[in-house]
Symmetry: C2
Subunit: 274 residues, 2 copies
C-alpha cells in the first residue's frame, strides 16, 4: 500500500500490534477527494478532524498539515485517507498518559462509481439495521464503524441500489450507508440533525455553509421515512463522489430537480478550484 506512518512527528515503518486504533477503534479518519494533487474541501476535513480530536481527548498536531502537503506533492487524482489513533501501549481501556498519536496517510484510486449516478440519479434501498443513539460519539468520524460494515453488507443485498436510507433506533432518518442526505420540499433544503448519531459529512457541512451564504433556505431537523417519500427532490452526498440524485425509492420515482442541479453545480466548482 502507498502509505506513510508517523508516531508523533517521527516516521515509523508499521503500526504496532497494540495500537489503540486496532484494539478499541480509538481514533478518527478522513477520506478526502484529491483533484490534480489538491485535496478538496480540506479545511472542512481538518475542522471535523479537530472536532473529533477534541471530543476523544486526542492531541491535534499542526504537523499533520505539513505531512499531508508533502505526501500529496506530485500526485494527480485520487483519494487520500487520513487516519489518527491514540497510539500504542498498554492493555485495558484507560489511555496511557504518555500515549503518542499515530498518523497514517494512504493513497487510493478513485472508486469506479458510474457517472450516471450523478447525472440520472440512483435507485435507493432501505436498511433494516438501525443506528444506535450515542450523542457522545455522534457527528465525528471515529473508527468504531461496525454498524457501517453491517449496513454496507445489507446494501449489497439490495440489487440495483447504490445507496440506502438508514434510520436510528427511534425510527428517525439519519443518513445513507456511506453518505449524508438532503431533501427538498417547497424550495427548502432539509437534512437530518446528527446530534444523536450519524456522521457529519464535510460535503453536508459545506452545502449548509453555502446555503447560508447564498440565502438559500435550509433546515436541519427531524426527518421521517414519510418525509423522504413526500420530498419534491432528494439526494445523497459525500465528499468523494459529490451528489447522487434519488431516481427511485420503492414504488416512487423522481427526476433530478433544480435545487439538486444547483448544488451539483456548486460542488463541481469546488472540485475544480480545490
Amino acid at each position: 500500500m502507498d502509505c506513510r506512518i508517523w508516531q508523533g512527528s517521527r516516521r515509523i515503518d508499521s503500526v504496532r500490534a497494540d495500537d489503540r486504533g486496532l484494539a478499541y477503534g480509538d481514533g478518527l479518519f478522513e477520506t478526502v477527494r484529491v483533484v490534480a494533487g489538491r485535496p478538496v474541501l480540506m479545511e472542512w476535513h481538518w475542522a471535523r478532524l479537530s472536532a473529533g480530536c477534541q471530543r476523544l481527548g486526542l492531541p491535534d498536531l499542526l504537523f499533520w498539515r505539513d505531512a499531508l502537503d508533502d505526501f500529496l506533492a506530485g500526485r494527480g487524482d485520487g483519494i487520500v485517507k487520513l487516519l489518527v489513533t491514540r497510539g500504542g501501549g498498554g492493555r485495558g481501556y484507560l489511555p496511557p498518559f504518555d500515549a503518542e498519536p499515530v498518523f497514517i496517510l494512504s493513497w487510493h484510486a478513485l472508486p469506479d462509481f458510474p457517472l450516471r449516478n450523478s447525472e440520472e440519479g440512483i435507485a435507493v434501498g432501505l436498511c433494516q439495521l438501525e443506528l444506535a443513539v450515542q450523542p457522545a460519539l455522534a457527528g465525528i468520524k471515529h473508527l468504531n464503524r461496525l454498524e457501517q460494515v453491517l449496513l454496507r453488507r445489507e446494501l449489497v443485498a439490495q440489487p440495483g441500489c447504490a445507496e440506502a436510507v438508514v434510520c436510528d433506533s427511534e425510527g428517525r432518518v439519519v443518513e445513507g450507508v456511506f453518505s449524508n442526505l438532503f431533501l427538498v420540499r417547497d424550495g427548502v433544503l432539509i437534512t437530518p440533525d446528527l446530534a444523536r448519531c450519524g456522521v457529519r459529512g464535510v460535503l453536508r457541512d459545506a452545502l449548509l455553509d453555502a446555503a447560508a451564504e447564498l440565502g438559500l433556505p435550509a433546515h436541519v431537523g427531524t426527518v421521517s421515512l414519510a418525509d423522504c417519500g413526500a420530498a419534491d427532490e432528494w439526494f445523497f452526498c459525500n465528499s468523494v463522489y459529490g451528489i447522487w440524485p434519488v431516481r427511485r425509492w420503492g414504488e416512487r420515482a423522481w427526476l433530478p430537480g433544480p435545487m439538486t442541479r444547483q448544488c451539483q453545480a456548486m460542488i463541481a466548482a469546488w472540485f475544480h478550484s480545490a
Copy 2:
C-alpha cells in the same frame, strides 16, 4: 511487545496499515487469565469468540487453538490477549471478498489490582455516559470500544472507586466499565440482560452455568439503579480479576455476603484447575 501475528495461518511481522481492525474496528478480542501457563475458562472464551465471528461474518479458524497452545508453552501467570480482525485490503466499508483474517496473540503482565478488592470489597461509582442500544452488536466482544474508553476516563475521575455502574440510554443498569455485575436479593442471583447492549463476560456466563448446575436460583433480566441500592449483596466480576464485592456505593455500605463468598470459592477452584 511479546506477540505473534498471523494472516490466515501464515505468520506475518506486523499489522498492515489498511487492516480493517484498525480502519473500522472490524474484529473481536478476548482477554484471558493464564495460571501456570494454562488459560482459565478457555472454552467459554472460544465460545464467545466463535459467536462473535458468526455475528460479524468472520471465519472461525480451528488453527487458532493450536496457535494459542504453542504461544503459551513454557509460560507462567499472566494475561493472553487474542485479537481477530477481518484482515487487510481495500478502502470502504464493504469487506473484500478475499479478505483473510488476522489473528494476534499478545502476552501481558497481570494488572496490579489490590488483593483487598476481592477480600474487603470496593467502592463503586456511577457513570454519566450511557451505553447506546444496538442489539446487532450486543454481547460480543468486538473492537468498537470507544464507549468503554470514555467510561474508563470517567471512572478515573471518581477517586477511590474501583468500578462504576453503567446504564443504557433507557436508564437500565447494564454492567460495569470493564466488568459484569450480579445482585443478590432474597437468595436469588440477578444479572442484567445483555440482549440490547453490553459485553457478555465469560465469567458471567460461567457463573450462570454453574448456578444452573448447582440448582442456585439465578435470573437474567432488567435491573434498575434502585435494584442495586436495595440488593442484599452485589458484586462485579471479570475473567481477569475474578469477583469484587461491593462495599460502598454512594451513601450505602455492604459487607461481602454468603452468596458472593460462595461464587468466589467456585472461581478460585476454576482458576486453580485451569
